[in-house]
Symmetry: C2
Subunit: 329 residues, 2 copies
């Protein structure tokens, strides 16, 4: 019996990081930025989306509240968002031009700079968990396509049927996108957008970030956006973490997530100034749009977006929490 207790104490000392009692923790999540309009988002749907954001917050916060690592918190929050049909990630992801859901994800642990990313998988229920497995169970950072799924199988991760990801709404969007493309009519911006992500600060002062997406409706040619690109859509270091959502090509070209953190680290910008400058100035200057959630080592949160809305939610170090959709919450 004593041995069991000693073993339990020993294991707990390994598993639970040295959390500082009363140290600030914080969590921010997003469910994508885009043209969200009040006349199209019904009250019922908005309520369902806010409820999903709240569940994701709860899942992440439970980890932080128990003194768990930021890495676990962002993974837990993103899994809830991936499992919800309302967001373009996991269940509910958009379809590519071949009528297949093609998923990308990345996760990064700021304190160790460990990172994992996957792109172009079709049968992994929770891409963020595969990204994490790449980080923790392979010598690599990024795996793509069939190879990434073979890796998933090799570590015993169950694969789902591709049909698992299908929602009728996304299927209709693909049909509409194909018709518009044939007719050379522009796609609604909402077809491009949608990503989920989380950033957390744990009681040990460590920051982690994670992002997951289905990419762009009707995408072709194995297109990879910013979500799984470490530095572009996902980044965490010792002092700052970012998860982005938006027109991925522009976010890659501007190295958005890492650039925000570099401005904080090297120029002493506040997190709000750094995130604001990149998202509200640099991205639109180049012709892109979208938003980010960003967090610094004090638990400050910045959530700028240059679109009409961004699904987002947060718990600040003082315990205050909220969900918001539009610029005016």
């Amino acid at each position: 019996m004593n041995k069991i207790i000693i073993l339990a104490v020993f294991c707990a000392s390994i598993i639970v990081p040295p959390a500082v009692a009363g140290a600030p923790t914080a969590l921010a999540i997003h469910g994508g930025a885009g043209t969200i309009s009040r006349d199209k988002l019904t009250p019922d749907r908005e309520q369902a989306i806010r409820a999903a954001l709240d569940r994701a917050l709860d899942a992440g916060h439970a980890v932080l509240d128990a003194g768990g690592p930021a890495l676990d918190a962002v993974a837990a929050a993103v899994v809830v968002l991936e499992d919800s049909p309302y967001f373009n990630a996991g269940k509910g992801a958009v379809f590519n031009a071949d009528g297949v859901n093609e998923l990308d994800s990345a996760i990064m642990d700021g304190s160790t700079r460990r990172a994992g990313a996957i792109a172009g998988v079709h049968r992994v229920r929770n891409p963020v968990q595969l990204a994490r497995a790449v980080m923790e169970q392979s010598p690599h950072v990024m795996l793509v396509g069939d190879g990434a799924e073979a890796f998933a199988s090799s570590i015993g991760m169950p694969l789902v049927e591709p049909s698992y990801f299908r929602t009728e709404e996304r299927w209709q969007q693909l049909q509409d996108a194909k018709a518009r493309t044939s007719a050379r009519v522009a796609l609604p911006r909402s077809y491009y957008f949608g990503t989920v992500g989380a950033v957390a600060l744990d009681a040990s002062g460590h920051i982690a970030a994670a992002t997951s997406t289905g990419g762009m409706t009707n995408k072709r040619w194995g297109r990879v956006g910013d979500a799984p690109i470490i530095g572009a859509g996902t980044w965490a270091d010792a002092g700052c973490g970012v998860s982005a959502t938006g027109w991925g090509e522009f976010f890659i070209r501007l190295n958005v997530a890492a650039d925000i953190c570099a401005r904080v680290a090297y120029r002493g910008d506040t997190l709000a100034d750094a995130a604001g400058s990149v998202v509200m100035k640099r991205v639109p200057e180049l012709g892109g749009d979208g938003g980010v959630i960003a967090m610094d080592a004090q638990g400050n949160i910045a959530m700028p977006f240059n679109t009409s809305g961004m699904y987002r939610a947060w718990i600040r170090p003082d315990g205050s929490r909220g969900t918001a959709v539009y610029a005016d919450p």
Copy 2:
């Protein structure tokens, strides 16, 4: 006849950028960093490698000398290196675990922040040209796998037989790597390394960077290294450009290429200090190794590496040129 002359003048005014007469130009290229030892690199082979580097320099310099854009210069230099069997890119690339050459590349134009990248292609003779085509002829930045090859076909780029890339030396390396892996014996570091790249400053003051690689011998699971990751292995902005070579996972986790440029832009570090700090301190601290070639808007060149050698060559703004293999050239 007059019309033809007017048309020719008109076209020339579009094609040739507003080069400033006498403005400094510079070019740096690399053929990979790694454990290059004097007792294993025969004089004949070293001479052949230096000659290939010289040809790549000539190709890039011819563009710059004619007032052409840095983007053309880095592409021209990298094509020569891809076509040489001595470097791990294009012809002469290492084999993956399936006995296939799997190629990655990226290119970036600093003045416009346009970028293109491809990963996991098997039939594209010059991956840097496909990366450039993604940048210029698609709305995307990154395409991977079969999709990237489908895009190449869609724009009329001829594909080669996968056997084109085969060299006997690389094939034997794969057999040896498999035997060592089975016997749980560490691979020689030279199996991991090898990448080619170029950075140029043109007479208009624009910087471009490009990188191309076959990745790691015996790689599995669709592994993607840093070369095609914009910000990690390849980066260019208005004031700085970098192409990296080394253990890609560490270069991704440190966002190496963009971080060097961020230190210059945001903290006022000299290029030499920025590149030196990242390559000689941050990368080894994390357990990685490799090197970079970096250039700023004045044409200063930094080429730090923390391995025993890095194949490299340069032409400075004053016209001086050289090739080097070891720390002592």
